[in-house]
């Protein structure tokens, strides 16, 4: 049977990652923007904990843990609203490991290199000359990893031309568009490393962290906020919203864990589970974040309260590597056909 509960070793991973995330300086938002896109102290501690090489086999220089273990790290990233190109950098590490670039792999592992996660914004999914790509990790990273459904390419920034840079509602997101103007350093087929579905699982994990955090924030507030002489959590209208948040969080965490387990195994429904997890996680994280705003009442509408940060982060993750429409079509592709308009 698939074991979906964390064992003691996994609980220890959660504890140390969570302690690191909590020890980091609180999210500082000034006039809607972060002071800096990445907390450098957190980044190098994350490297020390092995976040970037966690599920790379030991004989290739990694920690040899599983994709399920990696989802534990990314769940804490989502829960703690941690900012930075963590997903792109983990993908970069897998690419470097796949092509045997030991020097690059080592530098990524020790936290010396940041890799932006990029995706196509036109129809060219093979990332060739003239193709348009975008990232939410900003234009100032050391490398860029372009993830498509069938192949993944790693670029040096000198091989792309910046088309535009804009800020997003999420204070951590630095949106940049590029045109590909040179050759990729490395190209990896999905048969070697399926970065696309691997990413869907880790995006789901970050969204599951948001689902759990918004549940907990709502529960804590409902226990202490007094109205008509009683905590608002005693009212069924509020209590039942919290219950629904709990059910959604449980659903997303369970499905994400199952997807991680199956994608890393020989069972052939891993791809469907990864797409399904992402579809569900995006929908439920938005619902939980919205309920969290509502449960906080007027305070939830202020910039001072972090309810809006979870909502905006859920929106951001929901747009990364495929929209709801695209994912839902992928889920039913064999039944509907690719050509449906």
């Amino acid at each position: 049977m698939d074991e979906l509960l964390e064992d003691e070793e996994q609980l220890a991973i959660v504890e140390s990652v969570s302690a690191l995330v909590k020890s980091a300086s609180p999210v500082r938002v000034i006039d809607g923007f972060l002071q800096s896109p990445v907390d450098e102290a957190l980044w190098s501690e994350a490297a020390n904990q092995g976040w970037f090489t966690l599920d790379i086999p030991v004989d290739q220089g990694g920690l040899g843990l599983s994709l399920v273990d990696q989802t534990l790290v990314f769940r804490e990233i989502g829960r703690g609203l941690v900012s930075g190109p963590f997903l792109g950098t983990v993908l970069g590490s897998h690419v470097a490991s796949s092509v045997g670039d030991k020097a690059l792999f080592d530098r990524i592992g020790e936290g010396a290199v940041k890799v932006a996660l990029c995706e196509s914004t036109d129809e060219s999914l093979d990332f060739t000359l003239g193709g348009l790509i975008r990232t939410f990790d900003g234009a100032a990273t050391d490398y860029m990893v372009c993830v498509g459904p069938s192949q993944t390419k790693l670029f040096d920034p000198s091989a792309v031309r910046i088309v535009s840079e804009t800020r997003c509602f999420d204070p951590s997101a630095y949106h940049a568009e590029f045109e590909i103007a040179g050759d990729a350093l490395y190209s990896v087929e999905d048969t070697t490393f399926d970065a696309y579905h691997y990413s869907q699982v880790l995006i789901s994990a970050m969204l599951s962290g948001i689902c759990e955090a918004t549940r907990d924030k709502s529960v804590d507030y409902s226990k202490t906020r007094i109205q008509f002489d009683v905590p608002i959590g005693s009212f069924q209208a509020v209590k039942h919203r919290c219950a629904d948040q709990a059910v959604r969080a449980e659903a997303v965490t369970s499905l994400t864990t199952l997807a991680a387990l199956r994608l890393g195994s020989a069972v052939d429904d891993g791809v469907l589970l990864a797409v399904s997890a992402r579809l569900l996680a995006a929908s439920y994280a938005m619902s939980n974040a919205l309920d969290n705003v509502q449960n906080h009442g007027a305070v939830g509408f202020t910039e001072e309260n972090d309810a809006h940060l979870y909502l905006k982060r859920a929106q951001l993750y929901s747009q990364m590597l495929g929209t709801t429409r695209g994912l839902r079509d992928q889920s039913l592709r064999e039944h509907v056909g690719d050509g449906r308009s």
Partner: protein, 198 residues
């Protein structure tokens, strides 16, 4: 149940079946050896029975829901709409099918997690109510999705194949009432799992 004074009156449900009953007790005497648990401790006994019903009794149905969705997807592929297009070409159905497919998989995963938790304790915990609530509401959404895809044929009682879909839909309505209504399940989750005040 056959002791003197026990009267069972069957009740017809909205599906037309006689699957419900009210039981009346008039001066019924039961041997002490037949007492389950302790005298005066019936509430606790009933609640622990219910915790199984909320926890794992529906496991087979929960896991079957994955196959149910696959059957409904196949039906949406083979059925044609008024313009002779497969029903699955309709974006609105693709939306609902893809989400339901993901939700059924999530339910299966939640069930596995609950089984793992139950293996470590004597009685199923209040988290069983999350699975129960999710299953009963999802089952209704799925039954309604099948009803919408199958269309007007579901109105016809004599139509054996499609009217089964309507029957399944009607039956699904009991899920959010039996073993504690969905509102009771939300109270249990809120109070016993999340620690919110009564």
């Amino acid at each position: 149940m056959h002791a003197d004074g026990v009267e069972v009156r069957t009740i017809k449900s909205l599906t037309g079946e006689e699957s419900l009953a009210e039981v009346l007790y008039k001066d019924v005497r039961i041997p002490l050896g037949n007492v389950v648990g302790e005298m005066g401790d019936g509430w606790r006994v009933a609640m622990s029975t219910l915790s199984f019903e909320r926890g794992t009794a529906f496991m087979k149905h929960q896991l079957n829901l994955v196959q149910d969705i696959e059957r409904i997807i196949a039906m949406a592929e083979s059925m044609l709409d008024a313009h002779d297009r497969p029903v699955i070409a309709d974006d609105a159905f693709v939306d609902r099918l893809a989400l339901a497919r993901a939700e059924a998989r999530a339910l299966g995963a939640m069930t596995l997690r609950t089984v793992s938790r139950n293996a470590k304790r004597e009685l199923p915990g209040p988290d069983g109510s999350m699975v129960r609530l999710y299953y009963s509401e999802l089952n209704q959404r799925v039954a309604r999705l099948a009803l919408d895809i199958a269309g007007a044929g579901t109105l016809d009682r004599s139509n054996d194949g499609v009217s089964k879909i309507a029957d399944g839909f009607y039956k699904s309505l009991s899920g959010t009432i039996a073993a504690g209504t969905k509102d009771i399940q939300r109270n249990i989750i809120g109070e016993r799992l999340l620690g919110l005040p009564r």
